[in-house]
Symmetry: C2
Subunit: 192 residues, 2 copies
DNA sequence: ATGAATCGTTCACTTAAGTTAAGAAATGGC
DNA sequence: GCCATTTCTTAACTTAAGTGAACGATTCAT
């Protein structure tokens, strides 16, 4: 498990044994059951999540309806906006599956950052990379139709379509569950 | 003009006179004419832009059609994804109006970062804040209809609706110019 | 100032998503 | 295993966006 983390980190900076030990000693590995709510609307939090195994999602509850806006799977990280903005959360975070997560908090990060400036560089690079990824995702979303977005998802994250409930996928694609169901039926028609 | 920049920076870190001078000496203030293309599809670039005055936009050309995905106005910064990923750009960046821009490049930033660690902290905080802002924007986009998105834009960036051509606004809202035109007519009907 | 190109609106028509409702299928708890 | 709940699909109908085309209005270049 630890190796997975350090392999990931090594893409950004190289750590000494001392630095690795400092991270391990923080005791941030957690097993979390499917359905667990990690963050609720209205709550304040300092926690960030890194998914080692499993899948978590963020969702809003608008007019009593869940609107799923993001999924995070293996090797993906989520720092909720409420953590960055220091405001109550506008959305929920919960586990789509049983998960092994790395859960850190702002204070721990600040401590590590001051001890190891290298770590701050990593965080900056990581934030910038995420910013670029998210920008591309947003642009693709804006410039394509629901059908194209679904096909795009099948290409890029085929696992998601399998492991996540349809109605959650639907709002992730910006449409209603019925529309996703119909859209899929339409695509099957076309193929044959 | 310099004061505008330093007021902005002071939201993240406090700079000494020495540090301010180091920044000014980089000679990064530029006037750019409306219509100027700052970055073309396929180009590699190391340049980032901070808008002191005016408006710039990013757009793709897909099937010969321009798809505008973002606008940056006063006090907003753009680091194109191609700069972060070190890949050829997938989109264009151009000036919607005459602009006064602060144009920096990766090498300059690296130099300043190593001289003043404080600067790297600022970049990290800034990237994180942008990440949170963009996440919220994306979530709002996903969870709302074109009409809601337009009304939302009227609330949050009323200036954009005035200063930017309709057909650019339309793709920014994820629809066709005709649809935006119709949507606006529909809203006027409703009001009366 | 004038002609050319671009831009915004309107219209008729097509296509697809939203809505409401019903029922089948899958899942979870006991 | 069985019931209750949730999830997925289907269908009929409504609403709004996409498409193609036409026509002023505006902008731009010379």
């Amino acid at each position: 498990m630890k190796n997975i983390l350090f392999d990931f980190i090594s893409k950004y900076v190289s750590l000494t044994e001392e630095e690795k030990n400092a991270i391990v000693s923080l005791d941030i590995f957690h097993s979390v059951k499917k359905g667990t709510i990690l963050l609720k609307e209205g709550e304040k939090s300092k926690a960030s999540y890194f998914v080692l195994k499993g899948c978590i999602r963020t969702y809003y509850v608008l007019d009593g309806e869940e609107k799923t806006t993001a999924f995070y799977t293996e090797m993906e990280a989520l720092t909720p906006t409420c953590v960055i903005n220091k405001t109550p959360s506008e959305y929920y975070v919960s586990c789509v599956e049983d998960c092994i997560l790395l859960i850190s908090n702002t204070d721990m990060e600040a401590e590590i950052n001051s001890k190891f400036p290298k770590f701050e560089t990593m965080c900056r690079l990581f934030a910038e990379e995420l910013l670029a990824k998210q920008r591309i995702d947003f642009d693709e979303f804006k410039t394509s139709s629901p059908e194209q977005r679904y096909l795009n998802l099948l290409q890029k994250r085929p696992d998601l379509v399998q492991r996540v409930p349809q109605h959650q996928l639907a709002s992730y694609l910006g449409i209603k569950p019925q529309s996703l169901s119909r859209l899929r039926a339409r695509l099957l028609e076309k193929k044959s």
